[in-house]
C-alpha cells in the first residue's frame, strides 16, 4: 500500500526494496498463465534466500524459485504446469530430497485465505476438506509456527456451525488469513499510480494484491495517468494497494499473457528437460538467469520465437500454435 501519483521504477529497485531475504511472498497468475516471471528471475538473479511462498496453483514461477534454492517454506495447493509438467519438477525434487518445508491446502482454501487477509478478518469458513488429510496433516510443526509471528498457530480448524443448522450445514472448516509481505503480479496495463487493468481471467490476483503489505506490479504496457480512468469498471486493482509499477514487455514469458502472447511451448519443453537433470539444471540457471543482465536480454535471446506466440486478436492466444 502506498499513495503516490508515480510509483514507476526499475525491476532491480522494486525487488531490492520489497523482496528481502526471508520475505513472505505471493505470486499472481496460474500454472502457465501470467506468472510474474521477470520479477521471479530478478529474485533468483539476486540470490534471495529463505523465502516463504504462498501459492494456489502457481506453476512456472514457483518451480523456478524453488529450483534456484530461494525458497525455505511453501504453502501450496497445486504445483504443476499443465501438460508441460503435471507435477513441477524442481518442486517435486525439493520435497523428495527434503530441501524445503511445505504444507498442503486446496485452491479454494488458499483463495479464501487471501480473501480473509484482504478483508482483515482472522479466518473464513468453507466446507472444503472435511474428512481429508488436508485437515489432518500439518506440514509445519507448532514450534515452526510459534517461531514466526507471520504464521498462524494452527493449520485449519473444524468448527460446529454457530448458527445451528442454518444453510443445512453441521460444521465448517476455518481457513486462516494470509498477509504476505509482498505480492508480485504481472498485468497487461498499469498506470503510474498503480491502477491495473487485467485482461481475461484474474485468477486470485485481486485477493492476493489486497491481502499483501506491499504489491509490485510488472506490466506489458505502462499507460498515461488518465488512460485507465475513462472506463474504471474494467480495472481490477486500485492504485492505492500498489507500491511499485515496473514496465516489462514480455514480463510473463515463458508463461502466457492473454491478448498479448501465448506460453512458449519450446521454452517450456526445454525447461522440462533441463529441470530433470542436475547438471543441465545448473546450466539452465546460469544461461537463462544469472548471465542475463535483465528480462529484455532474455527476450532478445528468444526473439526468433516471438512471432509464433503472438496473440491472435480474435482468440487472445496464438491460434494454431504448434504445441
Amino acid at each position: 500500500m502506498r499513495i503516490a501519483p508515480d510509483k514507476v521504477m526499475g525491476l532491480e529497485e522494486a525487488v531490492s526494496r520489497f523482496v528481502p531475504d526471508g520475505a513472505h511472498l505471493a505470486l499472481g497468475g496460474f500454472t502457465c498463465n501470467r506468472n510474474p516471471m521477470a520479477a521471479v528471475y530478478e529474485i533468483i538473479r539476486r540470490r534471495r534466500k529463505n523465502l516463504h511462498l504462498y501459492a494456489h496453483s502457481n506453476g512456472q514461477g514457483v518451480d523456478e524459485l524453488v529450483g534456484a534454492g530461494c525458497v525455505a517454506r511453501i504453502e501450496i495447493a497445486y504445483a504443476g504446469t499443465g501438460r508441460f509438467a503435471p507435477t513441477c519438477i524442481r518442486f517435486r525434487k525439493a520435497i523428495e530430497e527434503g530441501r524445503i518445508a511445505f504444507e498442503d491446502y486446496s485452491n479454494y482454501q488458499m483463495t479464501l485465505r487471501f480473501l480473509a487477509g484482504a478483508m482483515g478478518v482472522p479466518f473464513l469458513p468453507t466446507r472444503s476438506g472435511l474428512g481429508t488429510d488436508i485437515l489432518a496433516r500439518w506440514g509445519f510443526s507448532e514450534e515452526v509456527r510459534a517461531a514466526d509471528p507471520r504464521l498462524p498457530k494452527k493449520k485449519l480448524v473444524v468448527c460446529e456451525n454457530p448458527f445451528g443448522d442454518w444453510a443445512e450445514t453441521d460444521r465448517v472448516v476455518l481457513v486462516p488469513a494470509i498477509r504476505p509481505d509482498v505480492t508480485l503480479l504481472h498485468v497487461q496495463k498499469a498506470a503510474p499510480d498503480g491502477t491495473c487493468r487485467i485482461a481475461g481471467l484474474a485468477f486470485a490476483d485481486m485477493e492476493q494484491a489486497r491481502a499483501a503489505h506491499h504489491v509490485v506490479v510488472t506490466c506489458e504496457e505502462l499507460v498515461g495517468p488518465e488512460a485507465l480512468r475513462d472506463e474504471p469498471e474494467r480495472n481490477q486493482i486500485p492504485g492505492v494497494v500498489v507500491d511499485a509499477v515496473v514496465p516489462v514487455p514480455y514480463g510473463a514469458y515463458p508463461t502466457a499473457c492473454y491478448r498479448y502472447y501465448d506460453y512458449d511451448p519450446v521454452f517450456l519443453n526445454d525447461y522440462r528437460t533441463a529441470a530433470t537433470d542436475e547438471r543441465r539444471w545448473a546450466e539452465y540457471l546460469e544461461r537463462w538467469v544469472y548471465a542475463m543482465p535483465d528480462h529484455a536480454a532474455r527476450i532478445a535471446a528468444v526473439k526468433e520465437r516471438l512471432s509464433a506466440i503472438q496473440a491472435d486478436p480474435r482468440t487472445g492466444y496464438a491460434t494454431g500454435l504448434k504445441r
Partner: protein, 254 residues
C-alpha cells in the same frame, strides 16, 4: 472399427455426462471427456474451470486449466473465488458433475493426488489437490479417471486429498460433507461404479477383449463383479467426432 484404449476411456466418461449439466474439468483426459460429451451426447452441458471461465467454447484444447484457451467464447471469465462459489452454493452446485484424476484410489473412491509414502518424507510427490478437494467436497457427483494398476487401487490411500465416500455408507454426512460423491471410475480396463448402500466400488463393465478376472488382477482389493457386463465399443460416429472435432491434433488422445 479400430480404436485406442484412451479413446474408449474418453468416451466411457463422456457417456456418463447428462445434458444440461455443469461439467467441472481439470487438465488432460478429463477436459477431453467434457468436450466429447458436449459434442456428442450433451449439447446443453456447460464446461467450467476452477480458474473462473464459465461455459467455455474451447475452440482449441487447453493444456492446463490456466491456459488462455479456456477463455475463448466463455459466458464469463472472473477468477477462482467466483468459480468455487458457483460449485459450492447449492443452487448451481447441485448441477455440477466433476471429473477428477488421481495417483491412488481406495474402495470408497477416496483420492490421493499428493504423495506416495509418508506425507512429510514422501517417496514420490505429486502436484497436490489444486481444486480437486474442493470439487470432491461439495459437487453433486464426480467421475474419476484412473490407470488400472495394483499400486493405484489400494486398500488405504497414503494421503487422502479428495474425499470420496470416506468410510462408506453415510460417511460423508457424518463428516459434515454435503451432496453426493463418486459415481464412476473410468480406467484403462473397465468402468467401476459404487453401491448405493455400502458405497463400495464394484465392477460395472469391462472393456471389449478384457475380462473381470483381468480387472481384479490389477487391484489390491477385491470388488463385486456379479453385476458386470462387457462395455459397448465406440460407435463410428463417436470416434469420428472425437477425432475430427474434439482433438484433431491428438494433443491429448496421443
Amino acid at each position: 472399427m479400430e480404436y485406442t484404449r484412451r479413446e474408449l476411456m474418453t468416451l466411457a466418461a463422456a457417456r456418463k455426462i447428462r445434458d444440461g449439466e455443469i461439467v467441472f474439468c481439470g487438465t488432460g483426459i478429463s477436459m477431453l471427456a467434457a468436450m466429447a460429451a458436449k459434442h456428442i451426447y450433451a449439447p446443453n452441458s456447460v464446461i467450467i474451470f476452477e480458474t473462473g471461465a464459465v461455459d467455455s467454447r474451447l475452440e482449441e484444447i487447453p493444456l492446463a486449466v490456466g491456459d488462455p484457451r479456456v477463455m475463448y467464447g466463455a459466458s464469463s471469465c472472473t477468477g477462482l473465488a467466483d468459480a468455487f462459489a458457483l460449485m459450492q452454493n447449492p443452487t448451481t452446485g447441485r448441477h455440477v458433475v466433476g471429473i477428477l484424476g488421481a495417483a491412488q484410489i481406495d474402495r470408497y473412491g477416496n483420492l490421493n493426488s499428493t504423495a506416495i509414502g509418508e506425507y512429510l518424507h514422501p517417496k514420490v510427490r505429486f502436484s497436490g489437490s489444486g481444486g480437486a478437494c474442493d470439487v470432491a467436497s461439495f459437487v453433486d457427483r464426480t467421475i474419476l479417471f484412473m490407470q488400472h494398476e495394483r499400486r493405484k487401487f489400494v486398500n488405504r490411500v497414503d494421503y487422502l486429498t479428495s474425499p470420496g465416500w470416506l468410510d462408506g455408507k453415510d460417511g460423508r454426512r457424518r463428516a459434515g460433507l454435503p451432496g453426493g460423491g463418486p459415481e464412476a471410475v473410468i480406467t484403462d480396463l473397465a468402468v467401476m461404479a459404487f453401491d448405493p448402500e455400502s458405497r463400495e466400488m464394484f465392477l460395472e463393465a469391462w472393456y471389449p477383449g478384457g475380462s473381470p478376472q483381468e480387472v481384479l488382477a490389477h487391484m489390491e482389493f477385491a470388488v463385486d463383479v456379479s453385476r458386470a457386463r462387457e462395455l459397448e465399443p465406440p460407435s463410428a460416429r463417436e470416434l469420428k467426432i472425437l477425432r475430427e472435432v474434439v482433438d484433431p491434433q491428438r494433443l491429448i488422445l496421443g
